[in-house]
C-alpha cells in the first residue's frame, strides 16, 4: 500500500460525481443547464423526468462527456477523467440515445462494431450471449442476420441496447430509449436493462430519462425532475402543489 495507488479513493467513491456542471448555447446565448450537482452511487437507479427541452438530454450528454462543459467537472470513481481516458470512461459509462443509430450491414455487423475499437481490444464478440439477450427481448435466432436498414424503430433500439449491454458497462445513461416505441417493445427494453442491472446490482447504476411517470416509477428508485435547466429531487406530488400555486 505504499505505491501510488494508495492515494486512490476507496471503492465507496460514487461512480459519477458532477460538480457545478454548466452547459450554455453560445450561439443563442442561452443557459441549457444551470450549475448542477449530481452524485450517482453504485446500486442507484435514477429516473429523470421533466418537460421536453428542459435539459434532460443536455445533462445526460454532459455526464457522458459528449459535449464540452462551460463550467464544473465530472468525476468518475472519485477522479477526473483525463483526455486519453475518455474512451475508457465511455466504455464504462454508456450513453444510449433516443433514436438508435445503426451502421450499414446486418444486425451482427452492428454488434461486432464495438470490438473493432481500440478500447475493447481485450474482449471479443460472443454470439451465444447476444442470442440469449435477443431471446429475452422476444427476438428469434435469425435476428442476427437481419439487415439493419430493414428494422423497425423498436427493433433498432433493441439492437442498440444489446450492442451496449454485451460490453458490460457499469453505468447506463438512457435518453428516453422507449419514447417512440410500442408498449410491448418498451417492456422488452425495460426487461433487458433490468436483467443487466440485476447481474451486478451493487456495482451498477442507471439514469433513465422518461416522460412517462408510470415508467419513471417502474425503472427508478430515486426520482429527479428537470425544469428549465434546473435539476431537483421530485417531491411526491410536486405537480399538484405547483398548479395550486398558479391558481392562487
Amino acid at each position: 500500500m505504499t505505491d501510488s495507488r494508495a492515494a486512490a479513493p476507496p471503492d465507496t467513491a460514487p461512480l459519477i460525481a458532477a460538480q457545478r456542471i454548466v452547459r450554455r448555447d453560445a450561439a443563442r446565448n442561452q443557459t441549457l443547464l444551470e450549475p448542477t450537482d449530481l452524485t450517482l452511487d453504485a446500486g442507484e437507479r435514477v429516473a429523470l423526468t421533466g418537460p421536453s427541452g428542459s435539459g434532460k438530454s443536455v445533462l445526460l450528454r454532459a455526464l457522458a462527456l459528449l459535449d464540452p462543459l462551460d463550467g464544473g467537472r465530472v468525476q468518475w470513481r472519485g477522479r477526473s477523467v483525463t483526455r486519453s481516458r475518455i474512451p475508457t470512461f465511455r466504455r464504462h459509462v454508456a450513453y444510449l440515445r433516443q433514436r438508435a443509430a445503426l451502421l450499414d450491414g446486418s444486425v451482427e455487423d452492428n454488434l461486432r462494431y464495438p470490438y473493432s475499437l481500440a478500447v475493447y481490444r481485450d474482449v471479443s464478440f460472443d454470439a451465444d450471449r447476444v442470442r440469449a439477450l435477443f431471446e429475452r427481448a422476444g427476438r428469434g435466432a435469425d435476428f442476427l442476420e437481419r439487415d439493419a436498414s430493414e428494422l423497425s424503430g423498436g427493433e433498432a433500439q433493441i439492437v442498440a441496447l444489446v450492442r451496449v449491454l454485451q460490453l458490460d458497462p457499469d453505468v447506463l445513461l438512457l435518453d428516453e430509449p422507449t419514447a417512440s416505441l410500442d408498449p410491448g417493445t418498451a417492456r422488452a427494453i425495460e426487461a433487458l436493462v433490468a436483467g443487466w442491472f440485476e447481474r451486478g446490482a451493487d456495482a451498477r447504476a442507471t439514469i433513465w430519462v422518461s416522460h412517462d411517470p408510470a415508467q419513471a416509477a417502474r425503472v427508478g428508485t430515486r426520482q429527479l425532475v428537470m425544469r428549465a435547466g434546473v435539476l431537483s429531487a421530485a417531491p411526491p406530488d410536486g405537480e399538484t402543489t405547483k398548479s395550486a400555486e398558479t391558481v392562487q
Binding site: 448555447d25 453560445a26 450561439a27 457522458a64 462527456l65 459528449l66 459535449d67 464540452p68 483526455r83 475518455i86 474512451p87 475508457t88 465511455r90 466504455r91 454508456a94 450513453y95 444510449l96 440515445r97 433514436r99 443509430a101 445503426l102 451502421l103 462494431y113 464495438p114 473493432s116 475499437l117 481500440a118 478500447v119 475493447y120 442498440a160 450492442r163 451496449v164 460490453l167
Partner: protein
C-alpha cells in the same frame, strides 16, 4: 519564341467572343434565366485574361524574383479562398484550412517539378514557375474544395452514427475515419478521371499550347506527363491535408464531435452581413 504561332488581333478575339451568343440564345430559348450570369462570366473571362496577359508580360520582362514570388503568393491565396467556397455547411477556420493545405501541397510539389525534374535556372524563371504553379493550384483547389465539402456533408449526414461511435468509446479518429476516407476519395477522383482520359478524350491546354507554338509533340507529351503527376501528387496531398485540418477543427482532443461548429453557409453569411 512565338514564331510558329499565328498572331491573333483583337478583332479575331471579338469574333470568337461573339460565340457567347450561342449560350445566350440557349438560355433565352429554354428560359434558363442565365443571361445575367452568362454576361458576367463572359466579361470576367475577357477582363481577367487580358489583365493576366499584361501582368505576365511585365513579370516576364522584368524577370526578378521579387516580382515573381508575390505573384505566386497571390495566385495561391486566390486558389485557397476559392477552394473554401463550396458546400452547404462550413465552419470557422475553413478558409484558413483551405489556404494552408493548398499552399503547402502545391508549393512542395511545384518545387519538386521545377527544381528536380525540369531544373530551371534561375529558380524563379517566370515562364516555367508561374504556369506550372498555376496548373497545380487549379487542380489542387478542386481536390481540396471537394474534400472539405464531402467531409462536412458526410459528418452532417452521419452525425448520429459518429456520435454513437464516440458514445461507445471510439476515439475521435475512429469515429471520424469513415467520413474522412470518403472525403479524401471524393477529392482524388477528378484527378484520377483526368489521368484516365488524358490524350484520348482531352488534349490538355498546356500540351496544345506547346504544339501550337511549334514544339515537337513528343516533347510536349513529356511535359504533359510530368504535369499530370505533379497535379496528381499535389491534389492528393492537398486533399488529405484539408480533410485532416477539418477533422482537427470539428473533433476536440476530448474525443467530442463539435457539431455546433458546422454551420449553414448562407445563414452564416447573413449573420455576418447583419452583424
Amino acid at each position: 519564341m512565338n514564331t510558329g504561332l499565328q498572331n491573333l488581333s483583337l478583332v479575331d478575339v471579338a469574333i470568337a467572343a461573339l460565340l457567347v451568343f450561342v449560350n445566350g440564345a440557349i438560355s433565352v430559348l429554354l428560359k434558363l434565366d442565365l443571361e445575367r450570369k452568362l454576361a458576367w462570366a463572359a466579361l470576367r473571362t475577357v477582363v481577367q485574361l487580358l489583365a493576366i496577359g499584361y501582368v505576365l508580360g511585365w513579370v516576364f520582362a522584368y524577370d526578378r524574383w521579387y516580382a515573381v514570388l508575390p505573384l505566386m503568393v497571390l495566385m495561391t491565396l486566390i486558389a485557397g479562398v476559392a477552394g473554401s467556397q463550396r458546400g452547404a455547411r462550413t465552419y470557422a477556420g475553413q478558409r484558413a484550412d483551405s489556404i494552408v493545405s493548398i499552399w503547402v501541397s502545391a508549393w512542395l510539389v511545384a518545387a519538386v517539378g521545377l527544381f528536380v525534374v525540369i531544373r530551371i535556372r534561375p529558380w524563379y524563371t517566370p515562364q516555367y514557375a508561374i504556369p506550372i504553379l498555376g496548373m497545380i493550384l487549379g487542380n489542387t483547389l478542386t481536390g481540396v474544395s471537394l474534400g472539405i465539402e464531402r467531409m462536412t456533408s458526410e459528418l452532417t449526414a452521419r452525425r448520429d452514427r459518429v456520435e454513437t461511435a464516440l458514445a461507445l468509446g471510439a476515439t475521435r479518429w475512429e469515429a471520424a475515419q469513415g467520413p474522412a476516407r470518403e472525403a479524401v476519395r471524393a477529392g482524388m477522383i477528378p484527378t484520377l478521371n483526368q489521368m484516365a482520359v488524358v490524350g484520348v478524350v482531352s488534349l490538355p491546354g498546356m500540351m496544345t499550347g506547346q504544339v501550337l507554338a511549334g514544339q515537337s509533340p513528343l516533347q510536349a507529351v513529356r511535359y504533359q506527363i510530368v504535369i499530370m503527376f505533379l497535379i496528381a501528387a499535389s491534389s492528393a496531398l492537398g486533399t488529405v491535408g484539408a480533410v485532416l485540418l477539418a477533422y482537427r477543427h470539428l473533433f476536440s482532443a476530448e474525443h467530442r464531435f463539435l457539431v455546433s461548429r458546422l454551420v449553414d453557409r448562407t445563414a452564416r453569411a447573413k449573420r455576418r452581413a447583419a452583424g
